[in-house]
Amino acid sequence: MELQDKVIKLVSEATKMDAANISLNTSFVDDLNLDSLDMVELMMKMEDEFGVEIPEDETENLKSIGDIVAYLKSKSH
């Protein structure tokens, strides 16, 4: 599975939002209505799933699915 699809699947499971409605442009706050605590939990799930550490300061810059995918890609090299 592509990284992008894995991220979408994880977000879909965490937010109960149909994966078909989630794309790279989906915003965590505007489209998925996540609050700051939801974001922390989601990032913790990402950390567990992808074995990376996402610092708190970084979380503020991750506003969409695309941002996360790009961030994870940058860490996997």
Partner: protein, 252 residues
Amino acid sequence: MIATYSDLKDKIILVTGAARGIGKSIALALSAQGAHVVFNYRGDESKAMSLKEELEKVGGKATGLKFDVTDYESMTKAIDEFTKSVGPISGLVNNAGVSKDTLLLRLKPDEISSIIDTNLKGAMMVTQALSRNFLKAENVSIVHMSSIVGLMGNPSQAAYAASKAGLIGFSKSVAKELASRNLRSNVICPGFIQTDMTDALNEKAKEEYSKSIPLGRFGTSEEVANLTCFLLSRASSYLTGEVIKIDGGLYI
């Protein structure tokens, strides 16, 4: 008498300041319920070992972590190591505290700092250090050991009372912030409880104090431990952001 809460069995609970007084009674009561008691200690390894043995003799597991509640770095390191190897901590008793009774006009800045750093900032830092872990745990319950003087004030205890009152605002904020994760945070305000601290009072003073208590006596640390077990257990599942006095009616 100690009530038994079956859900406390194997629950991992950190109790700060468990070496003596109310903290020790709480640790013993939790051990008796079969909880896995985690306590912090500052220096003495042999004392920590004997506390561990004492707790395990009563029941449950016990683990000592070496950190001071005023030292954020060693605290986070010890907590992270523990939660990674054993599992998430789902109960916290912020009990570590110091007092230094002195008139306001003799109260020195470093004495204020020491009291606030341990009693208030320490509790805040331990809770903060555990917050990430709490998101992974279930049925988290936090109990902050405040004091009746945090509600009513007391001469010669201005800094102590301020630190204890501060815990109330902190607890209520935590209760609101993490309620959506089924985390509860409550405060206990003990009145006069028989401990080393009150044993130091002279007989006449004790008699005077007892007269002002409707139930006519000092409380025992076991009575405070009983309430703490209740708040940590799901028996109190709809109770959060609350402040409970346990003072024999002293402050009615």
